[in-house]
């Protein structure tokens, strides 16, 4: 429990808001390493052409299924080995972060946007609005998500856009459910009544009074959703519904590696490890953010 630091509690000058928030963020080890890893991935994605040691698509059949460095018969030029077509696993992994992060961020934000708006309205207005949204959520959740995403991709055609659309269309219910419940709880509180007596309209109360109290949960959910989106993208790539095979993705690598798992396990293991670490990092970041930003949980 080394992270329980007892810093001197007497600040010389009252810290500004930003400084206070930053300090709270830095005090969370989960934010540091979860966020650090995501930042590292972001850097990889942006600078992939400069960092990747090989062209991720260049085939070299003479150098097929070479094991990673450290194993027998490895080639030092291929740090994580090569697949059956002789493509560099490390380079493909690095290029794979591009699709993974793009999908994660955009899809999660879209799902959050749709889910939050519907959840806020359902939770605050109740009545017919709530009934409609709640039934919609139930119907949505009764539908198998993989089937739904295949449907979306089938209609829109394969590609990053349809993968993003599919994830947003499937996962808005996560946000809507949580936000609705949270909004209902907040709407009971006296401060909402106080705002009403002060003469604020319903929308003003919803967005100015209630939303800030839902925000910490929302933020945590958003980062969790990014982790989920990475997995869903991998699943869709795995079943061949994501981007075309000439763009390296982690899911596509896993699918390909599965076929040659007995000859070249590393083709399978490397993207799996990357996927695992990324999802873990997103989850940890989400938890850390929630702890750091929720004013009630702050000390």
């Amino acid at each position: 429990m080394a992270e329980i630091a007892t810093a001197a509690p007497v600040p010389a000058a009252p810290p500004s808001r930003l400084a206070k928030t930053l300090r709270a963020l830095v005090a969370q080890p989960k934010v540091i390493w979860g966020g650090g890893f995501i930042l590292f991935l972001l850097l990889l994605a942006l600078a992939a052409p400069f960092i990747a040691p090989h062209d991720p698509l260049a085939q070299d059949l003479m150098a097929g299924t070479l094991p990673p460095v450290g194993f027998a018969e490895h080639d030092a030029a291929y740090l994580l080995g090569t697949d059956d077509l002789g493509r560099d696993v490390l380079s493909r992994l690095i290029y794979g972060t591009r699709i993974a992060l793009t999908v994660a961020v955009i899809a999660a934000v879209l799902a959050a946007l749709v889910g939050t708006i519907l959840g806020l309205l359902a939770g605050y207005y109740g009545g017919i609005v709530d009934t409609v949204v709640s039934r919609l959520i139930e119907i949505w959740m009764a539908f198998p998500p993989v089937l739904l995403s295949i449907l979306v991709v089938a209609i829109m055609g394969s590609g990053v856009t349809s993968v993003i659309a599919a994830i947003a269309i499937i996962d808005w219910t996560r946000f809507a459910r949580v936000v609705r419940a949270e909004t209902m709880a907040q709407a009971q509180a006296d401060y909402v009544t106080a705002a009403r007596t002060l003469g604020f309209g319903r929308l003003a109360i919803l967005f100015r009074e209630i939303l800030p109290n839902v925000a910490p949960v929302l933020l945590a959910l958003l980062t969790l959703e990014m982790g989920i989106a990475v997995i869903v993208e991998a699943i869709l790539s795995f079943v061949g519904l994501s981007v075309s095979s000439d763009t390296p993705t982690w899911g596509g690598m896993i699918a390909q590696g599965r076929q040659i798992i007995y000859q070249a396990w590393w083709v399978f293991a490397a993207p799996l490890a990357a996927l695992f670490a990324t999802v873990l990092a997103f989850n940890q970041l989400g938890d850390g953010l929630r702890r750091a930003l929720d004013p009630v949980m702050q000390r």
């Binding site: 509180a189 006296d190 401060y191 009544t193 106080a194 100015r208």
Partner: protein, 294 residues
């Protein structure tokens, strides 16, 4: 003959459909400018219902079936929701019961104090900030600048209640409704808060409806009081008369039930069953008479 600040007359309300058991039975009361009026009664007596009816925030189940609530001669019950907020927003404010939940936990004190100022006075952020700071000083808050930047959970219960009082008086309202503002507080803090409400009220010339179940509090702060039982006015008048020369048996019994620190050995007598029976009989007779007329 001047129009009273607030005149509630013959207010009737029921839970659910008309014809159900009433929660308010022909309640009438008037409040003059600058008067502190106590609404006293046990739980379920309808004191909070009256307060909420004035503010137009009755819960969905409760319906007003008759009577009027006039603020400076204008019947509030005839307004639609938007007009009502226009009228009430700057004129009537609320000091809520529980300072724990009455402040938004996710917003800083500054934001919550300046809301009303910016909405109704059209102040700039800077002016509103200055005014809010001034208000916090007026409610004797220590380190007002620091409090402004704080979140509610960083303040104690008494401090939060001071913030709420500052917010209630921020717009110079004509009427403040204090809904058991000291119930959730420690006894020592209670006294400070009562003094504070009284001094703010005197300085601003505000009328106050003070909802409480504590006759001791009424004696300390109120000019006049209305005593309710099961939604019916039992006795009404100046506090000194009410407490020294109670006419109604229920008031007398309540006085006997009040702990008396000045007279050890008196007080804390439970209200006798006959008194309750008499009260209930009075209410039954009233309901009968109402049914006969209506």
């Amino acid at each position: 003959m001047t129009v009273p600040l607030l005149a509630v007359s013959h207010l009737n309300a029921v839970v659910g459909r008309a014809g159900n058991a009433p929660v308010l039975r022909d309640v009438s009361l008037t409040i003059a400018r600058g008067e502190v009026h106590g609404l006293v009664g046990e739980s379920g007596a309808g004191k909070s219902t009256i307060a909420k009816a004035i503010l137009g925030i009755l819960p969905h189940g409760i319906r007003i079936t008759g009577g009027s609530i006039a603020l400076e001669g204008e019947d509030l019950l005839t307004f639609d929701a938007v007009t009502l907020r226009q009228k009430l927003g700057p004129a009537v404010s609320l000091i809520p019961q529980d300072p724990q939940t009455a402040l938004n936990p996710g917003r800083r004190i500054e934001a919550q104090l300046t809301d009303g100022l910016r909405l109704w006075k059209g102040m700039s952020a800077k002016d509103a900030h200055a005014r809010a700071l001034q208000l916090l000083e007026e409610v004797q808050m220590r380190e007002p600048a620091r409090v402004m930047r704080s979140f509610p959970h960083e303040l104690s219960g008494g401090m939060r209640q001071r913030v709420l009082i500052a917010a209630a008086f921020a717009l110079e309202p004509k009427l403040v409704i204090a809904d058991e503002p000291t119930t959730a507080l420690d006894v020592t803090v209670q006294k400070q808060i009562l003094r504070l409400i009284r001094s703010m009220q005197e300085r601003h010339g505000t009328g106050v409806v003070f909802v409480t179940h504590d006759l001791g509090v009424v004696a300390q702060i109120c000019d006049r009081a209305t005593l309710l039982y099961m939604g019916k006015v039992m006795e009404q008048g100046n506090v000194s008369d009410l407490l020294n020369k109670p006419r109604h048996a229920y008031t007398k019994a309540l006085m006997e039930a009040c702990p008396r620190y000045d007279q050890p050995g008196r007080g804390l007598a439970p209200v006798p069953e006959e008194v309750f029976a008499a009260c209930r009989a009075e209410i039954a007779a009233f309901d009968q008479a109402g049914a006969g007329h209506g």
